[in-house]
């Protein structure tokens, strides 16, 4: 922060931006290393240290080196992008560092072995934008991820950050800002899709002097991690969005509620908060406008239900996170009884670009009722896993096949699960559904926070339903009976079916229970809890029937209904499975087909995982 002093006015901010832009040579080579959680797991921080060491060793300290937020393409990490050309390397290891510095940094040449090769066409992609995974995306929320160092406010300001705040404070009235947000058609990205501008207006109209805003970063849906990436990779965008929102609503205090499991997000947000306070972008009299606003971070402590807004507020107040009935809605009576506006991380991050570029621009993207872009986490049985941002209305086919590269091992697509535990499974035959709030609802699912979990022929839909219901049983806060008891009973029935003890009539019972829980539960957790069961029953009833009547698991997942066998014709006797088996159930001399002792087998699948010759088959059998 040596170069930056307190910004007392809009002009100060612009002057600083000018200085930062001028100091930066757009043609200079710089190295950006993905330091998102995925790439860190691949060892990207070791890579960063190695680059720094070798650059110093070679007297190249002037080459800028950045640890950025998540680039999205987690599958291929660690990712390294060399600017200004944006040469894209994936799967980079420490041993590659010297070559990259010598060839790419010094001479501008690409190293072919590190470039992305399209597995379908075989085409080599030099630049990030050419990689099919990125080529079809449109990045608004993720505009800065991968470009800037999230721990540097100068980086953010240099790419135009806080420009929207300056515009809002400089010339716009609160009503005008709300008008813009309303006109843009932005809807809440947390799941329900409530129009953001309308919510802001409701909160603004409350007569109370004291109001609060909250950023919901309790990304609880398993399978979704976009909020994490935004908080980690572009924390100032969230703060800027919140400051604009607070100004429009008339709040002076904000809270960011971050999940317990996201320590890096907490640390980057804390860093951003300190920087913003230091330069006067948070605190009293922001940019000389007379507007005061500050933000505190609240760490969650591990409770899925805290994603529900009334539960979240209870948690912020330092109590157990149990929901309460609505109305009154938080905009009327929220935190400590004051009007409170809650939006999700991605929603807040959408605010600055809308204010900066205008509502017309934003409204031109997306579909009739769902505007703009949406970030999805494309995970599960898909080749290219990671975070993607596409326009609303992009079809599932484009997402799974064009961006995702298709199903893992080219197996057959069975379904795409959206919306987390409150969502549902969209079957393969609806793959051409354009993804927006309305279309997903029509298919029986919801947008949710944007998790897209791809499931292939080897995924058992009854097991998936059981998985979600078990999750919700564990996370149910226990306050209302339909959710506490109903979900428990549904889990019992599903466990029974997966265990090969399903009874005729179980399906009807499940449906009856599901409808009761849906209608009678207190909060969103309970009322959406039956969705995974209802959609799988709707689209995959045959799988339920196979489990109950034929005692067969078509996807070969449910342990009670499968046996593992060695296929002697395929077994080469390599002994890998013999070593892998934790209970010594497999035996046999080298180079001869092995024997699997069924009486010892615990069906852990370890042999199946290590067999390179497809010689171990999970065969469905009849259970009397």
């Amino acid at each position: 922060m040596a170069t930056t002093t307190r910004l007392a006015s809009l002009a100060d901010l612009e002057a600083l931006r000018k200085r930062l832009v001028q100091a930066h040579d757009p043609k200079a080579v710089s190295i950006s290393i993905c330091a998102g959680t995925g790439c860190r797991a691949h060892g990207s921080m070791d890579l960063f240290d190695e680059f720094r060491r070798q650059l110093e060793e070679r007297g190249l300290e002037h080459v800028e080196l950045r640890a950025t937020g998540c680039h999205g393409f987690c599958e291929r990490g660690p990712l390294v992008v060399i600017f200004p050309k944006k040469i894209f390397y994936h799967g980079v290891e420490v041993r590659h560092v010297a070559e990259i510095i010598e060839k790419t940094v010094r001479q501008g040449e690409a190293i072919e072995s590190l470039l992305y090769k399209d597995p379908v066409t075989g085409e080599v992609c030099l630049l990030e934008d050419e990689v099919p995974f990125y080529a079809r995306q449109q990045r608004i929320v993720f505009r800065n991820n991968g470009k800037i160092d999230p721990t540097s406010i100068e980086d953010y300001i240099a790419v135009g950050g806080y420009g929207a705040l300056a515009k809002a404070l400089g010339g716009m009235k609160p009503a005008g800002i709300i008008g813009e947000i309303k006109k843009s058609g932005l809807r809440g990205r947390g799941g329900a899709g409530f129009p953001t501008g309308v919510k802001w207006e409701l909160c603004r109209k409350q007569p109370s002097e004291e109001k609060y805003i909250i950023c919901n970063g309790d990304e609880g849906d398993p399978g979704a991690f976009m909020d994490r990436s935004i908080m980690e990779g572009d924390p100032h965008a969230v703060l800027e969005g919140m400051t604009i929102g607070a100004f429009a609503i008339g709040a002076r205090k904000g809270f960011i509620y971050v999940r317990a499991e996201y320590p890096l997000a907490v640390s980057n947000l804390t860093c951003a908060l300190e920087q913003s306070r230091e330069v006067g972008l948070l605190g009293e009299n922001i940019l000389g406008s007379g507007f005061d606003f500050d933000v505190d971070i609240v760490r969650g402590a591990g409770a899925f239900v805290c994603g529900e807004e009334t539960a979240l507020m209870a948690s912020v107040e330092g109590r157990e996170g149990r929901p309460r009935p609505r109305p009154p809605f938080p905009v009327e009576c929220g935190l400590w009884g004051k009007p409170t506006n809650i939006n999700n991380v991605e929603t807040w991050a959408n605010v600055p670009p809308i204010i900066e570029k205008g509502s017309d621009w934003y409204a031109s993207l997306g579909t009739a009722k769902s505007k703009g872009t949406k970030v999805f986490s494309l995970v599960g049985k898909v080749k290219n896993t990671g975070l993607i941002e596409v326009q609303m209305g992009t079809t599932l086919r484009e997402i799974v096949y064009d961006i995702g590269g298709g199903v893992l091992k080219d197996k057959e697509l069975k379904a795409v699960q959206t919306g987390g535990p409150s969502g549902g499974c969209i079957p393969a035959h609806l793959i051409d559904v354009p993804v927006d709030f309305e279309e997903l609802a029509k298919a029986g699912s919801i947008m949710g926070s944007g998790g897209l979990i791809v499931m292939d022929e080897d995924t058992c839909m009854v097991d998936v339903a059981r998985y979600f219901v078990e999750f919700l049983e564990e996370e149910s806060c226990g306050k209302c009976t339909p959710c506490r008891e109903g979900v428990k009973r549904m889990r019992e029935i599903l466990t029974r079916i997966c265990g090969g003890e399903g009874r005729p009539g179980d399906i009807d019972l499940l449906e009856e229970l599901a409808i009761a829980v849906k209608e009678a539960s207190l909060c969103g957790l309970g009322s959406t809890a039956p969705n995974p069961v209802l959609t799988t029953l709707n689209y995959f009833r045959d799988e339920y029937e196979a489990h109950i009547f034929d005692k067969r698991c078509p996807a070969k997942v449910c342990k009670a209904l499968i046996v593992y066998r060695v296929v002697p014709e395929k077994c080469t006797g390599c002994q890998r499975c013999v070593r892998a088996c934790p209970v010594n159930a497999i035996s046999g001399p080298r180079s001869q087909p092995h024997n699997l002792d069924q009486s010892k087998c615990i069906k852990c699948g370890a042999c199946y995982e290590v067999c390179r010759f497809d010689a171990i088959a999970g065969d469905a059998i009849y259970v009397e």
């Binding site: 987690c74 149990r322 986490s377 995970v379």
Partner: protein, 293 residues
Amino acid sequence: MAVLSVLVLETRKKHRDRLRGKLGAAGYEVRLAESGPALISEVAAARPHAVVLDIDLPGGDGLHVLKAVHDAAPDLPIIVEAGEPTVEEAVEVMRRGAFNYISKRSPVETLLHVLSQALERERMEAETKEKAREHKIRTFDDPASLAVVDRILARHHYSDSMLISYMQDVQQELRYLPQEALRFIARRLNVSLPRVYGIATFYKSFSLKPRGKYVIQVCMGTACHVRGGGRILESFERELGVPAGETTYDERFSLESVRCVGCCGLAPVFIINGKFYGNMTQEQVPRILAKYE
């Protein structure tokens, strides 16, 4: 190892001398008691590691002596010898707290074997107790821990709206939330203990039990589930011999299942003390665990 002492009450001189010789040769320190009352006072004065008691005391006092010794020292192993063993007597003797019941006509090796069993049991019980006592010290009486807690509370001026945050910091320092820490927090912030306890049990990240040196969190998010996260968890359970949610006996590893750590691109994933492991298979589990031994 210190010499183990055995206190013997045997009425027949010949057998008594034989026992003294054999036990002495086996390395035990042998002390002799003259009578029942002498045995009882001897146990009270200097507790031996084990007692060998002749049940055929004059006047049929054997059972009374047995009960008296057992009441005075419930953990002390008492091996009862009988000249004419009967099933009825065996039942009665065991009921009164004997460790074992053997015939005087059995070879001395039998007695030596039973004795070593008894002493092994006593050693293990003592160890368990020692361990429990260590916990107790850490749990209830350690003033240093309470000073840590107080420092944390002072950071935000003992404001009760920061309760959850305080508890997270305390857990980070002490690796779990000891009962005394919860009581202390409640007293210091002037909030009810049920409220503190409610929070500690409502939120999943809090642990009321000491956690191991290494905390293994196996992700059970949806992406990890469909890519075999459940099998990874089972494989840890097998390797460590404890179910999810438990800590190994040596307090080295705690095994936990968590719902999505937000690293779905690399499913299945687990974390050991903050370090992420992605794209895992069951085969890799023992190898990775070995690094933390």
